[in-house]
């Protein structure tokens, strides 16, 4: 493969390109699902191919193919597309500087998930199914395991050759309770760059029983009260809060307008790094884009542009200080790439994608956060999300609200908790986040962006975090 890839880059050089690179990816997946006590999905898949990006006179072209015998033809196609891009080019694209790199990287794996016997995986799912159904009133159950291996080779005309092997393991549990008029669900989704050991660490069998009980409890619960309340968001809601209101707005391609016609724009401006300082949140809010932390789906040694994975601070004690960038747009603001140029497979072009966007832990325990609430709620597990084009006005819903009264959990739960806010006001209302003992990183497989649409796997780490005077419920609906 190395000879084939290097030959393709040599051919690109012979076309007198400014620069060219290639991503070869060989992706293996295994998916197993048990729904309502029946095995409903048993699927293995392999997808192998490569994408070639070429710059000619400052214009870009990209071509991808699964035909390994047509690599030079694909390079030529990308070259011709780049020449066509010159038709409408106002400013030549300048990639930032980077060194040529020869490197290898492999996700640390204790137990290869593809080597675990199918029967063992199926038994785990069946046990989860049984435990979710242990509570009378659970009407639908879903248990899934998904595993993925990516063999990724990056090479470019500058002489880089990087070979990385990633392993991902994940699980989904869903317990649903249905009445004539209502449906309530408790669910769990997590994926990590790790081996089967991460599945065992999820304690799925025990968790399944809890989810079943809570789904039924919610069906009989009252709707969450509306009003202004102090709220603690658990990591399974925090990941969405971070993703939508910090992750996307700090992507430089959105800020520069590249996604204006699809994913949207951002309220953040590049001047917020220089002449117009932006207070993003309170002093308790420090958020990083960290491609180096263990277990994240955005963890790697090098991104899909051959740039080293980095830990970039986006918000430092409430002050906005950094952006997520890739090579082509970082240079537009005089920076080097933050290592966020990623593609979701061999088919697609690298664009700015989140790595692991993490809220760093604070000093609180969960108990002390709860103790600071006279009356409010702990919201857990996202179930609905919507945010405006500029990433200012959001409205999110969770699966479950746990009541807090006089600094203690009462044991009462409410269904359908919805909260809304404006991004910087909301983060400014954060007055504490729990310490590292409560911190967890959670992976999600479905971040959509780009045309053609790319579905990326990203992670977000956080601890339970408290926000004051949150608008809970929806006004103005009669």
């Amino acid at each position: 493969m190395k000879d084939l890839i290097q030959s393709a880059m040599d051919y690109a050089k012979s076309l007198d390109v400014d620069y060219a690179d290639i991503r070869y990816k060989d992706i293996l997946k295994e998916d197993i699902s048990v729904e309502n006590s029946q095995l409903t999905e048993t699927s293995n898949s392999r997808s192998q191919g490569y994408g070639v990006r070429v710059y000619v006179d400052g214009a870009m072209g990209f071509a991808a193919s699964s035909d390994m015998t047509q690599m030079n033809e694909t390079v030529k196609k990308a070259y011709e597309i780049a020449r066509t891009s010159l038709t409408l080019l106002k400013e030549k694209v300048q990639l930032d500087k980077k060194e040529a790199v020869q490197a290898t990287h492999e996700t640390p794996v204790v137990k290869d998930p593809f080597a675990i016997p199918f029967a063992e995986k199926l038994a785990l799912l069946m046990e989860c199914d049984k435990n979710m159904r242990g509570t009378e009133g659970v009407t639908r159950t879903l248990s899934s395991l998904m595993f993925r291996k990516d063999d990724v080779i990056f090479a470019d005309t500058d002489g880089s050759y990087i070979d990385q092997k990633f392993c991902q393991s994940g699980a989904v549990l869903e317990a649903t309770a249905i009445s004539d008029t209502d449906t309530q669900e408790r669910s769990f989704t997590d994926l990590k760059r790790a081996g089967y050991e991460t599945i065992l660490n999820m304690n799925l069998i025990k968790l399944a029983a809890t989810l079943g009980k809570e789904a039924v409890a919610l069906l009989h619960a009252e709707d969450c009260p509306s009003g202004e309340f102090d709220v603690i968001l658990m990591p399974r809601q925090m990941f969405l809060q971070i993703h939508e209101s910090v992750g996307h707005p700090t992507e430089l391609d959105r800020i520069l307008g590249s996604e204006a016609a699809f994913a949207g724009r951002s309220f953040v401006e590049t001047e917020n790094l220089t002449t117009k300082p932006l207070t993003y949140g309170s002093e308790h809010v420090t958020i990083v884009a960290d491609a180096t932390c263990p277990l994240g789906l955005g963890t790697f040694a090098y991104d899909d542009e051959g740039v080293a994975g980095q830990n970039v601070t986006l918000i430092d004690k409430g002050k906005f200080v950094g952006l997520q960038t890739s090579r082509d747009n970082a240079s537009k603001i005089g920076q080097n790439s933050s290592g966020g140029g990623l593609s979701d497979g061999w088919r697609n072009l690298p664009i700015v994608r989140m790595t692991n966007i993490n809220l760093l832990p604070g000093d609180f325990t969960l108990d002390t956060l709860i103790a600071g609430i006279e009356y409010g709620f702990v919201f857990d597990q996202n179930k609905s999300w919507s945010i405006d084009d500029l990433r200012v006005n959001f409205q999110f819903a969770c699966e479950i609200a746990r009541e807090v009264k006089d600094g203690k959990l009462t044991g009462r739960v409410f269904k359908n908790p919805i909260y809304a806010g404006k991004t910087t006001d909301f983060w400014a209302s954060c007055d504490g986040t729990a310490n590292k003992d409560f911190w967890e990183i959670i992976g999600t497989p479905n971040c959509g962006k780009g045309q053609p649409m790319q579905i990326m796997r990203v992670s977000h780490g956080s601890s339970p975090t408290r926000f004051r005077k949150v608008k809970v419920g929806v006004d103005h609906v009669e």
Binding site: T84, L88, E91, L122, R140, P452, H476, E478
Partner: protein, 434 residues
């Protein structure tokens, strides 16, 4: 692209290795996208790929594998992997469903779009469109030309094949002050009016400058076909028999009941000349025309083989695979008898909405949705569009909103593969603003 014989050949080569009953699904695609931002070409890509999925059956056991390594060795390994997996799986709910023997219409990749939307032509369409973008405004969008081949076969020699082309275009024009307008089009057969989209986006963006702040609460709204299509899609996702069985759907237990106003009829019309020419589903069943909502009444769910067997009804031919039940691919919303201009002129006070953004379920069981306006929202006063309005969030149950549709336009637009009119809804709730 793979022609019929080439597609059949790959499936037959695969089936030569199988020891069980098997079905195979072949997808061959080419996707060409020229993307532009800040009024210049920003991304320009061509992606091609062919993949094959195989499911082998032994009574009620089945296992599935897929690959895009279509060499002789790759196909042989695909079969070996699937049959190996089959040894370990327990019985499922159903045996393999018979391959339907009803003939279905085939379609082929054509020349019209292929000749019109090569790489250079796409760049020219965009460059020509930029001529209408005025100073102070910038344009962003994408022009896609996609070719698709789908073939399904089994180990008994049954075979289905279809191929089609599709062009899609979308544009957003943004002023320096942040106001924006949009346009979009899609076609499977003829060259769509791309320049018209540029003009619409430019004029809307210009008209949207100096927007006033919205008032929250209940309003009369006039929705463009694009905005209405966004809401309709959520209704149609929930018409899947799987969504109904899962308890996720508003339509659960509502078959034969009136849930929307009498003026709302939603059909899935396979074979409609403007819609995607794909006449069979992933189960190889012929797609059947289905009325989903008939004058406000839930008339039929959409079925694949599995959900049809559970409900003891014939499949409607709407399988999307993956056990997800049925999905409407050829939606047609019945038109009304007033033009959009007449609907606006008959509105004393209301709000015209060109597009929604980031719409999502709050509660699918009561069809409560939330989302925001973007790319052109305007006040209507005394029958005329008077002022642009800033972004606002709605939160509304479509079970309420679609009972309050008081006008449906006679004009329909093809939006994302569905034929949709504009509508006037008397009570629609705006719940917050940025």
């Amino acid at each position: 692209m793979l022609n019929k014989e080439a597609a059949r050949n790959i499936i037959e080569k695969t089936m030569a290795h199988v020891n069980y009953y098997a079905m195979a699904w072949l997808s061959d695609s080419e996707q060409n996208t020229t993307r532009f931002a800040n009024s210049e070409i920003s991304q320009n890509v061509s992606i091609s790929g062919t993949s094959l999925s195989l499911r082998v059956y032994d009574g009620k056991k089945s296992a599935s594998c897929s690959t895009n390594v279509l060499t002789d060795e790759g196909l042989k390994k695909l079969v070996q992997d699937a049959e190996n997996l089959l040894q370990f799986v327990p019985d499922g709910e159903f045996e393999a469903f018979p391959f339907p023997d009803e003939p279905v219409q085939e379609s082929q990749n054509g020349d019209i779009l292929f000749n019109a939307f090569g790489t250079e032509s796409r760049a020219k369409f965009i460059k020509d469109g930029m001529a209408v973008i005025e100073s102070g405004f910038t344009a962003a969008g994408a022009l896609n030309f996609n070719r698709q081949v789908i073939a399904i076969g089994n180990s008994k020699g049954c075979f289905r094949y279809t191929a089609y082309d599709c062009v899609t275009f979308n544009i957003v024009v943004t002023h320096e002050d942040g106001s924006a307008g949009a346009g979009e089009c899609i076609s499977y057969t003829s060259v769509p009016d791309i320049l018209g989209c540029f003009k619409k986006a430019q004029s809307t963006s210009k008209a949207a400058r100096n927007a006033v702040s919205p008032e929250l609460g209940a309003h009369t709204v006039v929705l463009s076909p694009v905005a209405f299509a966004d809401l309709i899609n959520f209704v149609c996702w929930m018409m899947s028999a799987k969504a109904v069985d899962d308890g996720a759907s508003f339509a659960k237990g509502k078959l034969g009941q009136k849930v929307f106003g009498e003026n709302l009829t939603i059909r899935d019309e396979v074979g409609h000349p403007e819609l995607r020419p794909w006449f069979f589903d992933i189960d190889a069943n012929p797609r059947k025309p289905v009325t989903l909502i008939d004058k406000g009444v839930v008339s039929s769910y959409l079925y694949d083989n599995v959900t049809a067997a559970r409900h003891k009804v014939p499949s409607t031919g709407h399988s999307v695979g993956s056990g997800e039940g049925g999905y409407a691919e050829n939606l047609v919303i019945e038109a009304g008898n007033k033009s959009m201009d007449e609907i606006i002129s008959s509105t004393k006070k209301g709000i015209y909405i060109n597009e929604f953004h980031y719409t999502n379920f709050v509660n699918p069981r009561n069809l409560q949705l939330t989302g925001l306006t973007r790319n052109g929202t305007f006040l209507i006063e005394d029958g005329k569009i008077t002022k642009p309005m800033a972004t606002v969030r709605f939160t509304e149950s479509m079970l309420d909103a679609f009972c309050n549709i008081t006008a449906i336009s006679s004009e329909r637009e093809l939006v994302g593969g569905a034929l949709v009119p504009g509508v006037k809804i008397e009570t629609f709730h705006f719940t917050s603003k940025p």
